[in-house]
Amino acid sequence: MGTGVPKKRFRDFWGGLAVGLGEAFLVALEALRANPLRSVLTTLGVVIGVAAVIALVSVGQAARSRVVGEFANLGPDLLWVLPGKAEQGQQFATQEGRFTLTYSDAQAIQREARAVSGVAPWLQTSIEVAGGGRREVTTVIGTTPEYLQVRALQLELGRFLSEADQQRRKRVVVLGPVLARQLFRTPDLALGGRVVINGRAFEVVGVLQPEGQVLGVDLDDRAYIPFSTAQLLFAVNYASLLFVKAQDTASVLRAKREVERVLRREHGEEDFTVLTQSQFLGALDAILRVLTVALSSIAAISLLVGGIGIMNIMLVSVTERTREIGIRKAVGAKRGDILTQFLMEAVAISLVGGVLGMGVGLAASWAISGRLLNQPFTAVAALPVVVLAFSFSVLVGVVFGVYPAWRAARLDPIEALRYE
């Protein structure tokens, strides 16, 4: 009788460890396969958690891309002047002082602000418009000729509002292409047609080219009438807001300062807010980010629940296999061997769940981004999230597998062998 099989040498240790872990993983998968229903149910929590995190973050990113894209179309040199002073930290004006912006404010800005290339006041209302035998409830906007240049719009047919229209409060209207089609079927038929707004007849003098949508608002489903006419029609003497266009992107901040200076003087107080596009975007971005984080956190809770489920099942598994653990220890398994074995099983469950969750999450992201948001799904953008969610799933396996594995390793072999 001899001394037994020679011990492994240290330099074989790391190679052996890698092989050992790989083998241990395969053994763990084998153990999972022994009870497929239980294994599948246990991975569910991780699958859902990972899928949800990936889908939510990807969709959040897609939404953001889309919003930023839409806003970029409006022009980076655009400024919004809103009535009411925004609170510190708030980017959107409060409802107080809604009636403080006027046509003369627009004129003053046009005259004095050098960095500004155009100002257009804007009065908006939602009202029924009839024409071409049809009626539609739509947005009617009162504005000045400058609006065409400020918003860089293009005409499909006819002309935009003119200075003469504004002076004489003419009842003329320029239709957005979607509204024109809704009422008159084609823009050609719309031109020269008659439209009734608030009981008054208007002549259609122009149809615009399509602008698209921003934040779900259809910019082409609207009608433009002269600002003065609008004020008369709706019996008001203020503007909802002012659109200001800076000379170029570089002068945006200078334009903002000048506008603020002019208005401060005109009003005598700071009862307005001037917003740049980047401020808007910043606010939107912040909101979207908070939303994404909040939703992802909820999804992460699912991951946690999944981890608890893993721990639970592993504890049951350890108890069921008490005898087996005793046998292994009797033939020479060290505590570390037993710990590794059961920890590997937990990691295998969560890893499989992570992979499945990744698949489900990516599929969901592709579907939601593509269908709902009309945003092509970029796998590249999703990559960091995928890696993160995946790593989390492994971590969950390790963290929640440690306790049961430790319990298994600590079993007394003699007691374990007696277990029935």
Binding site: M1, G4, I327, R328, A330, V331, G332, A333
Partner: protein, 245 residues
């Protein structure tokens, strides 16, 4: 010659609350290489405790235990695991094979924990299964084997790391007389080839297959004598076969 097993005044005490239970009391025992020892005694005499101590599944509360000359009290838990792996081979009454593994994989198990690479493991395990006459059952799972076959797989597993001593705890307890006799025949063959075997039993007929008998009563060693004419299992099997005819 260094004894394989050298128990020097070994005691094992269990403390259950305020009560002390002396499972073993000052046992002095030496087992030399090549011996075949039967450990006998009534239920509760401490036989299994003694076997567990010899096999390093348990530690003595008092006294010294030298295994192949090495003081086991100095060993850490991990070191004891290694000892169990390399120097000791267990055979249990209830076979204790892992149900989800094949016979081959069961026999491989100690080699796995010894860090032996896969191909070597397979080869060695197959060798041993052939040695115990189960080469054709290598890929069967325990539930596909008879009791006697399972126990032979267990013996193969016990031998796979070439241990210093084989420890068997009532190895024939769950077997019919014929299978039991076959397993005892196997032990005798191994012993004839030089294996050191310690076997625990309450059955005097089983004990008579060994060459030396030690008796325990209430945790003390009360008897230690050679078996004058050991029963040869092969002969017993021969008579069984003859009786059937």
């Amino acid at each position: 010659m260094t004894p394989v097993v050298d128990l020097q005044g070994v005691s094992r005490v269990y403390r259950l609350g305020a009560v002390e239970v002396w499972a073993l009391r000052e046992v002095w025992l030496r087992i030399y290489p090549g011996e075949f020892v039967a450990i006998m005694g009534p239920s509760g005499s401490g036989k299994s405790t003694l076997l567990n101590l010899i096999g390093c599944l348990d530690r003595p509360t008092a006294g010294t235990y030298l295994l192949e000359g090495e003081d086991t009290s100095r060993l850490t838990d991990d070191a004891l695991s290694e000892v169990r792996n390399r120097k000791v081979g267990f055979v249990f009454q209830t076979f204790n094979l892992l149900p989800r593994l094949t016979a081959l994989q069961n026999v491989e198990l100690p080699l796995l924990y010894a860090g032996v690479p896969r191909s070597q493991r397979r080869r060695r395990a197959a060798e041993l299964l052939a040695r115990v006459g189960l080469a054709d059952r290598m890929h069967h799972r325990p539930r596909e084997l008879s009791g006697g076959q399972q126990q032979r797989v267990a013996v193969a597993r016990a031998l796979v790391n070439d241990p210093a001593i084989v420890l068997a705890d009532e190895p024939t307890g769950n077997l019919d007389s014929r299978s039991g006799e076959e397993v005892l025949a196997l032990f005798q063959e191994l012993n004839d080839s030089g294996a050191t075997i310690a076997l625990v039993t309450h059955d005097p007929e089983v004990a008579e297959h060994a060459r030396r008998m030690v008796g325990l009563r209430d945790g003390r060693l009360v008897r230690d004598e050679p078996v004058p004419r050991p029963r040869r299992a092969r002969e017993v099997l021969g008579r069984m076969a003859g009786a059937k005819g």
